[in-house]
C-alpha cells in the first residue's frame, strides 16, 4: 500500500498512528486526538443553491437545511444567505430576500389555493380546479368590462390595464416566453416575471 498526496484517505486515530505523524515518533498522538474530539457533537447541514422567488431580479441564494432526506427525517430550512458567486447579486440580498427564512417558516404561508367567499371573513381551502376556473371567470369579466381597443385618437391599442400578472423569478426562457405570449395576447401590460428585465 502506497502513501499518496493525491488520493482520498480517511483520517482516523489508527490511521494517524500509521501516518507520518506516527512515523516521526509521535506515537499515541492519534488516539489522544480522537479522545479529545470525542465529546463534541458533529452538526450537519445541507447547502443548496436556489433563486430568490420574491421579484424579477432573481438573486442567487444559498439555502442551509437540516435533516437527512434519505432517512425520512423531516428537513427544515435553518438559514438563507446571498450567493457570493451569483452574477446578479454577488452575495447581497434586499431586506425582503434577507427575510425569506421567515417567509418559509411563517404560519401564514400560503400552501394551497384559498378562497374567501363574498360576505364572509374566513378563507377556506379550495381545489386547484375551482381556483383556476374562478380566476379565469373573474379575469374574463374584468377584461370584457375594461378592455381598451382604441385610444382617444382612434388608434388601435388593445390594452387591458385593470389586471396584472405576477409570474415567478426562477423561470426558464421558455416559461418566460409563454408568460409573455399569453398575457400580452390578452392585452395585459403589468407583467412581473424574470423575462421583464
Amino acid at each position: 500500500m502506497a502513501v499518496t498526496r493525491r488520493q482520498f484517505m480517511k483520517v482516523s486515530a489508527a490511521g494517524l498512528a500509521a501516518s507520518s505523524v506516527g512515523a516521526l515518533g509521535f506515537v499515541g498522538a492519534g488516539d489522544a486526538l480522537a479522545a479529545g474530539v470525542r465529546p463534541f457533537k458533529l452538526e450537519r447541514a445541507t447547502e443548496t443553491r436556489n433563486t430568490c422567488p420574491y421579484c424579477s431580479v432573481s438573486c442567487g441564494v444559498i439555502v442551509y437545511s437540516l435533516g437527512d432526506k434519505s432517512k425520512n427525517a423531516k428537513s427544515s430550512v435553518i438559514h438563507i444567505e446571498g450567493d457570493p458567486d451569483h452574477p446578479v447579486n454577488r452575495g447581497t440580498l434586499c431586506p425582503r430576500g434577507a427575510a425569506s427564512l421567515d417567509y418559509v417558516h411563517s404560519p401564514l404561508r400560503l400552501k394551497y389555493p384559498m378562497h374567501r367567499k363574498p360576505g364572509t371573513d374566513k378563507f377556506e381551502r379550495v381545489s386547484w380546479d375551482f381556483a383556476l376556473d374562478r380566476i379565469a371567470t373573474l379575469m374574463k369579466e374584468d377584461r370584457d368590462k375594461n378592455f381598451i381597443a382604441k385610444n382617444r385618437d382612434g388608434v388601435t391599442v388593445n390594452r387591458w390595464l385593470t389586471t396584472g400578472f405576477f409570474a415567478t423569478s426562477a423561470q426558464t426562457n421558455e416559461a418566460g416566453y409563454l408568460t409573455y405570449k399569453v398575457m400580452r395576447g390578452l392585452g395585459m401590460l403589468a407583467i412581473e416575471t424574470q423575462a421583464r428585465i
Binding site: 499518496t4 498526496r5 488520493q7 490511521g15 500509521a18 498522538a29 452538526e43 445541507t46
Partner: protein, 323 residues
C-alpha cells in the same frame, strides 16, 4: 453662518464604512482575485507563527511544534535559495496545450534548488523538537545520495511513497514546497487558468488543495479561495461545489457543535470533503497550519465515511476509500 467644524465635514464627507478587514462595504462591485500568488517574504514565517500559537495545549502539541519548526526552517531555506529555473512563455503555452498547470510536476522537470532547500532545512531545523525517529529520518536524508533523493521526491510528487519512507517524506515535502512556492510566486497571474478545470486543482502546479478560506466582510464577503498543498497559491473557487469532483449536487457540511470558523464541506457524490475556514470568525487563519491543528474534525468526519486529500505533512497509510 456655518458652525465651527462643520465646514470641514461638508467638504470631506463621512468616512466610507469599512468591514474592519480593510475592505469597503459600499460602492465597489464585488470582485476577488481569481489567483493569489504566495508572498515569499511572509508565507512560511506566518505559517510557523500560526502553528506555534495553535500548538499550545493541543493533543498533537509535539507534532505541531515539530512542523512549526519545520516551517520556520522552510522560511530560512527560502531566503537562501540559489537561483533556479522557471518555465518561459513557450513552456507555459505547451502546458496549456495539454491542459496542465505550468508548474505541474509531470510537465515541468524540477531543478536542483529543492535539494539545496532540503539540506538547509535539515541543517537549520530546531533539533530540540525532533523525536528520535524524526532525527533518524533526518540522518538518513543527510547521508542519502542525490539519485535516491531525486527518486524519493519523484515518488512523493507522483503520490507513491513507500510506508517506511513516511517520516523522510515530510522533510522532502517541506523542501519541495519551498522550491515550488518560489516558482509560483514568480509566475505571471495572466498565464494561469483559474477555474477552468472541473475539479479544484491548483492553477499554478496542479496539486490538490489542502483547505479553503472564505473571505470576510465587505464586498468580497463569502468568496472562497482554495489553498494549494504544494506551492501556497490560492485561487477562487465557487462555493457549494465539491473541490474534488466539481459536483454542485448534495453538498453538505459538518462542523463541531458550537464552532463557527471551520466546516468540512462534504460531497455525497464522490464521498470526499474539504475543510473550509471562515476568516470572519477567526482572522489569523492560515490554510496549512490550521488544517494540521484541526485534524480532530477529520477524525469525526472520517467516521461518517468521508475521505480527504491528505495534508503533505500527514501523509499516511490511512484507511483507504472503501476499506
Amino acid at each position: 453662518m456655518v458652525p465651527p467644524g462643520s465646514r470641514q465635514a461638508l467638504s470631506t464627507g463621512p468616512d466610507a464604512p469599512s468591514s474592519g478587514f480593510g475592505e469597503t462595504t459600499l460602492g465597489d462591485v464585488a470582485q476577488s482575485e481569481p489567483v493569489v500568488l504566495p508572498d515569499l517574504a511572509t508565507v512560511f514565517a506566518r505559517r510557523a507563527a500560526r502553528l506555534r500559537s495553535l500548538a499550545a495545549g493541543h493533543e498533537l502539541e509535539g507534532f505541531l511544534r515539530m512542523i512549526a519548526a519545520l516551517m520556520a526552517a522552510q522560511h530560512e531555506a527560502l531566503s537562501g535559495l540559489p537561483p533556479g529555473s522557471l518555465p518561459g512563455k513557450a513552456e507555459i503555452a505547451k502546458a496549456k496545450l495539454v491542459a496542465r498547470a505550468p508548474l505541474d510536476p509531470s510537465v515541468w522537470p524540477r531543478d536542483a534548488s529543492w535539494r539545496a532547500a532540503l539540506s538547509r532545512i535539515l541543517a537549520t531545523i530546531d533539533e530540540a523538537v525532533l523525536p528520535d525517529p524524526a532525527l533518524a529520518a533526518r540522518a538518513v536524508l543527510l547521508s542519502a545520495q542525490t539519485e535516491d533523493l531525486e527518486a524519493l521526491a519523484g515518488r512523493f510528487l507522483d503520490g507513491d511513497v513507500r510506508p517506511d519512507e513516511a517520516a523522510q517524506a515530510v522533510f522532502v515535502a517541506a523542501a519541495l514546497q519551498v522550491a515550488w512556492t518560489r516558482m509560483a510566486a514568480l509566475l505571471d497571474v495572466a498565464d494561469l487558468d483559474a477555474g477552468k478545470s472541473e475539479g479544484g486543482e491548483c492553477p499554478a502546479c496542479g496539486s490538490p488543495p489542502v483547505a479553503a478560506i472564505v473571505s470576510p466582510g465587505g464586498t468580497k464577503f463569502g468568496h472562497r479561495h482554495l489553498h494549494c498543498s504544494l506551492c501556497a497559491t490560492a485561487w477562487r473557487y465557487v462555493r457549494v461545489r465539491c473541490a474534488h469532483c466539481g459536483s454542485t449536487d448534495k453538498i453538505s457540511f459538518r462542523q463541531l457543535a458550537g464552532t463557527s470558523y471551520l466546516r468540512a464541506e462534504c460531497c455525497e457524490k464522490c464521498q470526499g470533503y474539504l475543510k473550509l475556514f471562515y476568516l470572519e470568525s477567526a482572522r489569523d487563519i492560515e490554510a496549512v497550519a490550521d488544517d494540521l491543528a484541526s485534524l480532530g474534525l477529520d477524525v469525526l468526519v472520517g467516521e461518517e465515511g468521508f475521505a480527504r486529500v491528505p495534508n503533505p505533512f500527514v501523509l499516511g497509510v490511512m484507511e483507504r476509500q472503501g476499506g
